[in-house]
Structure formats: structure tokens, C-alpha cells
Assembly symmetry: C2
Homo-oligomer: 322 residues x 2
């Protein structure tokens, strides 16, 4: 929630001059984003985001992320386009950090998404999945099923300091999901972090899908599991089937599910819940009390996981209802 | 250096709808400013700053500050104009804070001001002082000479934890300045905090004078003392007479000094140094180590104070040189 890397007026003016953006008019550090440093830059040509990549993003992944954003934007998806400098480069360096200038997308992220927002999300997600099939780079999902056990073992029963018995509950889920995890479903590029703060709306229309820094290759329906968790539960952790129905039916109108995907949806949603439970437990245990960024509540994801464990068919998510 | 008060998309959209600004397009919390919460808001009509006033600004002072900004902007000064809502109000409330929407001024603040920047500052400062003479509200300077002793006594010899002997040095200066402080010089509205981060430039032209939240009535030349300290010392604390000459001569071309002002300038600059030394010592001693905002170095102002103590005539600042 802060600017991590300070850039001076001279440094930034010299940097912007290597792009075809006209004069630099202003720049302000944005107090959003926990991974990177972001500046909102106004130039003669319009508003842009300048991102300096901090240590949580691997430098070797950046050509994939930036290339993907450029590719999807060119396909008509509302993704921010990285700007190329006069030499044609998207990935640059500034203040000893990898850096990129990216088109600013207008829009607001919705704190309390409603049914129409979920429907719009479902459509855009399916469109993104279809468009991504043509992208010719790939990146493994470093937070997929194979990474969960080492992540779990890194904290083990320290998790019980958050809630009694959490350690055993995770161990049990992990074993079950490792067994049941599918690997032959339709795959492609997934966003893998499409929470409400990464989707901008103008009215009820999506104006921006942002933050592709977890994007990778995985089963497409896994991305839906992540979105069901992030968009279709209320603040009291109750599942909202009306929102899920809207999301799923809008998605399948654009990209219909295979039978296998239909059958696998509950296990994928459960796995998606475990993945965020694991990283949230890890962050909870590894964030110092003085940190600027308050870690997110892991127990929210334990509750979601339990919900999906009780789901027997994707029909219980509203899929296929009229 | 952070957003203190979170505003939701719904709250902000409803708030903006009470202004004649068209649709809300986006808003981003700005990681600048230590006193207030600032959002950069894009609407159909352009960019604006939304400020939520946090506890360090007194609510009863806000009509003065906002009225002054509006008045000076109307006089052609590059000050941000507060926007009036549909009912004609500038001062509003949002998220339980006093709030105002203010025109966004493009421009960069200069980390290392050069001689032309100092000349531009001198001109604008004099223009602001002249324009301010027509403003019909007033506000006492709560950080003028009368406040220095109580501020000093609030920490006393705790100051020695910063540097041995600081307590006695301040006491001695305080006594000398209380004795010598003038009170019959030309007075009017002063900005009282015109540091480089409060002055925006586009090229070498000033595009914005911002942050009027210390503005008050005081001797006009006291404002110049503040600017000499903030603009005309190098990072090694050496006084740069070329910059001071540029600032002072540009100022006096617009508003010539009286003889009394000329004579009083060294004492005013010394008092300005003591005022910032006192508040910086106070902040240093009263900021918890975990605070987001790192307090500024008090010793920098002790060095400036000592420099002015050795100055016998404003001529030593370059004033009157060709």
C-alpha cells in the first residue's frame, strides 16, 4: 500500500523522453498494490501507469507478462497495453528496477460486486481464455497443486497459532486434493488472481482486466474456481448462488464446458480455496507486526474450502440453471 | 506517505455526482502528503484532487484555506481552485472527514532546484504576496514567535537525545529571537510552507503553488526567510548565494523591500530556521519508530540557523547585487 521505490523528477523526465509520449506533465505515486511500485503519470499524450517491479516479481517472467498483456489487448480484451519505447522495448530499467510504462485504463473496482458484475466477469473471463489460446509463450503455474505440499511444510503446525486444528485440516485437504486433482482438462492461459480489485468497471461494463503478474498456463476451469471464491461469497462467507449462476452461465455462453470440466468444477474450486488458504497462512505467519501491508485473513478461505467440500455437482453452483 | 482514509467506489461515485463533473472514471489513492488523504480522481471533465482532511488540519481553518486558494487562483496565481458542488459549497464531508475537490494542476516538483527555479519562485512569491493583500479573511500564525517557547518547553532537554547541547542552543536562540523579533514590517498573507515539494514546474515555469494548509497572516518577508532556507542551501548545508540572489532579486522586482525589511531579513531567516528546527525536534521525539512517516532531520535546520546567525546584512544573501 505504498510507494516502495522513489523516482526523482529528473530521472523520470529522462526516462519518459525515451518514449514517444510527449512532455511529462506530472507523476504521483499510487498507494495501491502490494507487490510493485506504481506511479500514475500524465504526459501530453494522456495518462499512463509506470510500474517498477519489486522483488516479488521474477525478472525472467516479465517478458511473458508484458507480452501477454500486449497480445490480449491486441485481441480486443480490455487489458492495459504496455507501451514500447522508441527502440521498441517494453521492458526497461529505472531506479535499479525492471520497469514498464503501461496504458492507464479508466474504471473503478467494485467493493461489493452485484449479479450484473459477476455476469460481466464471466463473459470477459471466457473471452480472455479463448483469446489466450493464440498466445505463443507459456509459463508454468508455480502455485499449482505440486507447490502446495512444500508450501504447507514450510509452516506445518505453526498454522495452529492462527486456529486450533488448522494444521490437520490442511493436511487432510491436501492429501485428498493431490489424489483427486485432474490433469486432462482444457488448458491455456489463466489469470490466476482475478479478484475484484483487478477488474475495473465503468457502470456495469468491464473497462479493465489488470494485474497479470500471476498469469500462467493451467486448466481454464481452475480460473473459474478462483473467481467463484473471490466474487460469489458474501462478507459473512455465505455462498451467493445467484452471483455464481450469473458468472457461470455468462462464461459458458462464450465458452461451453466439456463434461469433464463440469464434473471437475467442485474439486477445482476447492483446490483454488486451498491455494489461497496456503499463501494466506504463509503470509500471516511471515509478516512482521510492523509491516505496512496487513496480511489477509486465512480463515475466510478455510470457510470457502469447507463449502466446496460439501458440493457434489456443479449444478449446486447454479450452472445450467435458467 | 499513505492513504489514511479508504473511500469505496460507491461512496465516491455518489459524492462526485453532487458536483458538475460528469461521470466518475477512476480514482487512485496518492502516496504523498503526510497530513491528509489525497485521491487523484479522473472524471469526464478532467483530473481532480480529492482531499480528506485528517486530524492535523483544524476544521475551522478550512474555509480560510479553501477561500484563499479560490481567491488567489481568481487573481491569476497558479493555485489549485477548489471546485464548488451544485449547491455552491467548497467544504464538504466524506467518510466522516472534511473533504474538498480541488483542480488538479499538472507539474513536477523539483528535487534539486536550480537558479532559474529560484528566480521563478521569487517572482511567484511576490505576486502571491501582492495578490493576497486583497483577501478579506485572516488567520493568525500559530507557529510564529509566540508559539516557539511553549513548543520548546514541551520537549526541553529531551532534545539532547538528538544531539548533545541542542537544548541549550535552542534556549539561547529563542531568547535572542524573542528579543529581536520585528513586528512592524509589511504584513499580509504568507504561505509559510513553500518548500520545493509545494511548487510545481513545467520546464522552468511555475505551474502550481500548492498546499496552503499553513497559510496565515504574518510579515511578508518572513515567507522569504522560509524560502531561503528551503531553496537556497545545498544538500551538504552550504548556502548557495547564487540561488538566493536569484530568488531575492526576482522577488524585489515585483515587490521592492522597505528599508526595514532589508534590515530585518537575517533575523527573519534565522527565526524561520528556528521554527522548523523546533517542529522537527518535536516530531523527531514524538514519532514512534513504527510510524509510516519518517521524521525529517532537525539538525539540518540547526545548521541553517547558525549560518543566518553569522549574517550581518541582507547583502550577504546577494540582495541588491546585479
Amino acid at each position: 500500500m505504498a510507494v516502495y521505490t522513489e523516482v526523482s523528477d529528473d530521472e523520470l523526465a529522462a526516462f519518459v523522453a525515451t518514449y514517444d509520449l510527449g512532455a511529462l506533465w506530472s507523476f504521483k505515486g499510487i498507494a495501491e498494490g502490494v507487490e510493485n511500485t506504481n506511479y500514475l503519470v500524465h504526459t501530453e499524450k494522456g495518462p499512463y501507469i509506470l510500474t517498477l517491479y519489486e522483488k516479488r516479481v521474477e525478472r525472467e517472467d516479465l517478458p511473458f507478462f508484458l507480452g501477454l498483456m500486449e497480445y490480449l489487448a491486441a485481441q480486443g480484451l480490455p487489458c492495459p497495453t504496455p507501451v514500447r519505447d522508441r527502440r521498441g522495448e517494453m521492458l526497461r530499467e529505472l531506479a535499479d528496477r525492471p520497469a514498464a510504462v503501461i496504458e492507464f485504463l479508466e474504471g473503478l473496482w467494485v467493493r461489493r460486486p452485484g449479479v450484473p458484475h459477476c455476469a460481466a466477469l464471466g463473459r470477459s473471463l471466457a473471452e480472455m481464455h479463448l483469446a489466450g489460446l493464440g498466445f505463443d509463450r507459456s509459463r508454468a503455474n508455480r502455485l499449482s497443486v505440486g507447490s502446495w505440499r512444500p508450501l504447507y511444510e514450510s509452516f506445518g503446525c505453526e498454522a495452529d497459532s492462527i486456529r486450533d486444528g488448522l494444521c490437520d485440516q490442511i493436511a487432510e485437504e491436501l492429501a485428498a486434493l493431490e489424489q483427486a486433482w485432474p490433469d486432462t482438462l482444457p488448458a491455456g492461459i489463466v489469470h490466476a488472481d482475478l479478484f475484484p480489485d483487478n477488474v475495473f468497471f465503468l457502470g456495469q461494463e468491464i473497462s479493465g482486466l489488470i494485474d497479470f503478474y500471476f498469469a500462467c498456463n493451467d486448466m481454464l476451469a481452475y480460473d473459474i474456481g478462483i473467481c467463484l471464491n473471490a466474487w460469489c461469497f458474501e462478507s459473512d462467507n455465505a455462498f451467493n448462488i445467484t452471483k455464481a449462476r450469473a458468472l457461470l452461465n455468462a462464461y459458458t455462453e462464450v465458452r461451453p464446458f466439456s463434461d469433464d470440466e463440469f464434473d471437475a468444477l467442485p474439486i477445482l474450486a476447492r483446490g483454488a480455496a486451498l491455494r489461497f488458504l496456503l499463501t494466506r497462512v504463509y503470509d500471516w505467519l511471515n509478516t512482521s507486526k510492523e509491516a505496512l501491508v496487513r496480511p489477509k485473513d486465512p480463515i475466510e478461505y478455510l470457510r470457502k474450502l469447507r463449502f466446496h467440500k460439501g458440493v457434489e455437482s456443479a449444478r449446486e453452483y447454479g450452472l445450467g440453471d435458467d
